[in-house]
Structure formats: structure tokens, C-alpha cells
Amino acid sequence: MHWVRNGAIALAVALVGAVIWIGLQPQAPELPINTRLGGAVTLTDQHGESFNTAALEGKVTFLFFGYTHCPDICPATLARVTQVWKNLRKAGHGDDTAVVFITFDPARDTPEHIRKYLEFFDPNIVGLTGSAEQIQDAAEKYGVVFIQEEDETGVEGEESKGLFTHSDFIYLLDQQGRIRKLYPSNGDIQEMVDDATSLL
């Protein structure tokens, strides 16, 4: 019977040790809540339906602004965020997460065009457009700056007139729609996956 008692004691000691060890491990700090930026916006999705981003509450969301005629940063960012979402899906978080793309080029980015554009990356990404006023309102809420090049004071050359100078952050929103973190457009994929997971 001694070996049973000794075994039980050893197991108890090991368990207590494990609990203490886990407790002593440095914990990742909780992501702060950005109270200055963000908020729900109502725009038009790629299916032509009105879409209020409040509908995404309950999901952890990656959101960013761009435009489909952007040749460099925007498609790279979309590909990056799509990969983040793919990784989250593999981890079983597909139903708890979302990705939103908001254009600041509504003149060219119609719902139909955005739908076709997003199909290349992931048709489940929510693509939003709207009137110039709606877009401006959404951009201001998120502190996004965008300026379309119109003359030679900006980007030189005729071809560049359709391009935008713009900020290019990726926003991480929690399940209450609050901004918890901003990433550069080339943000680390694993970091984004880990941060999103920490909010679930």
C-alpha cells in the first residue's frame, strides 16, 4: 500500500509544481482598448446590400482600408490578412473571426467590382463601399487619411492620377467592435493570429 500512497503524494507534488510553474510564466499583456478611434459604420457590401459593421460584433475582425486599383500595398495586405484568416480557420476559429475591406475609391470600386476582386482572395471577406461622404465618415472614425493624386504636384505622370496617397494600417477589432491593435500593412502573420486568438 505504501507504493500507492507514495505515488499519490508524488503525483500531487507534481501537479502543485506544474500549477506554480504555469503561474510564474510571463503572461502576454492584454491588448489595450483604443478609445479614440473606431466605431460601427454603415456602408454597402459587395452584394449591394446595406451593411453595418455592428453586425460583426461577436467576431474578432481584421479591418483595413484600400482600393482595388492599388498595385502594391493593397493586394499584398489582402493576401496577408487572407493568410491570417486561413490560419485562424485551421485552428477552428473560422466562425468567430471576420475580415473587412473598405474602399476609399467608391467611384471605381462598385459593389460588383469589389465582389469580383475579393473572390480572388476569399469570397467571404466583407467588401464595403458607399458614397464619398460615407467613406469619408468611415475613414475619419478610423483615422485613415487618403488623398487621390490629381495633378503634377503629387505623383508625377498621367498614369499616376488614379493613385492614392494613403495610410495603410490593419485594425484588429474585438468581439465588441473595439480597436485593440493596429498593424503595419506588412505586419507579422503569426503575431496577428496570436493576437486574434487571445481575444477569443
Partner: protein, 150 residues
């Protein structure tokens, strides 16, 4: 016999020199710029624009000034640079020329210098090769196959 031996040796050297002379113009026409890691960004089929990237090295003894870009798949192609602004935005600036000093390498990469391809008449699919030419002074044209990838 000895005389014949020297004559044969002379003949061999003469032939070698002649072959070298024939090869010289070919070597002289080799582009002094080499291009590596050339790729085009795969974009949705409805895209009007895309970007291309590469590393170019000037292997010659003289500076080379790149003055333009051309490709059959785009209505226009330009060199651009991306520069950060104080307000957190980033602007693209067209580079009309780019001079490569002897032995200098320059890398065009996402978020930095890149080739802009405007008004695409064909959107290349992933894995497809696209010929893009850099135009330089003295009518020099350096063409390279760029592979399309995400």
C-alpha cells in the same frame, strides 16, 4: 620536323586568337545589367494594375541609367518609389530615371521601389512568365522573364 612543330603551334594559336576575336562582339553585347529574383504580383483578374519586383546589378565598368520600362501586357509601365509621410501615409513617386553605378545592386521590393504596370491588357495568372524590359541609355534594352506569384 622542328620547323613543322613550330608552324603547327603557331597555327593553333592563330586559330584560337581568331576564335576569340569572333567571340568578342558577342561578349561586348552581353548586357552589363543582370536581373535576379524577378516576379510579378498575381492580382485578381479584374485588376487594371499590378506591380513587379527584382534585383538588378550593374556588372559593367560604367554607370548605367535606366530610363524606362516596357511590357506587352500593360498599356504603360513606370518605376515608382514609396516614401513615408509625416502623417503616417505613404506616397508613391514616379522615378523617371535610375542610375546604377558600376557593381551597384538595387532591389525593387513590396512596399519600396517597384515597377508599376498600368492598364493591363492581360492579367497574368500565378506561375505565368511575363517579359518585362528595362530601357537604358544608348538604346540598351534588358529584358527578363518575371514569374507571376502571390
Amino acid at each position: 620536323m622542328m620547323l613543322l612543330h613550330y608552324f603547327n603551334a603557331f597555327l593553333v594559336r592563330a586559330v584560337l586568337l581568331f576564335l576569340c576575336a569572333l567571340a568578342m562582339p558577342v561578349l561586348a553585347n552581353e548586357p552589363a545589367i543582370s536581373i535576379e529574383n524577378a516576379w510579378v504580383r498575381a492580382v485578381p483578374p479584374v485588376s487594371a494594375t499590378t506591380a513587379a519586383y527584382f534585383t538588378a546589378t550593374n556588372n559593367g565598368d560604367a554607370a548605367i541609367r535606366i530610363t524606362g520600362v516596357s511590357t506587352e501586357i500593360a498599356g504603360a509601365a513606370e518605376m515608382h518609389d514609396m516614401s513615408p509621410n509625416e502623417d503616417g501615409t505613404r506616397s508613391m513617386r514616379r522615378m523617371k530615371t535610375l542610375t546604377l553605378a558600376p557593381n551597384e545592386s538595387v532591389t525593387f521590393s513590396p512596399g519600396g521601389m517597384h515597377l508599376m504596370l498600368f492598364r493591363l491588357n492581360h492579367v497574368p495568372v500565378e506561375g505565368e512568365s511575363v517579359s518585362i524590359c528595362l530601357l537604358a541609355d544608348d538604346a540598351m534594352e534588358i529584358c527578363q522573364d518575371f514569374v507571376t506569384k502571390k
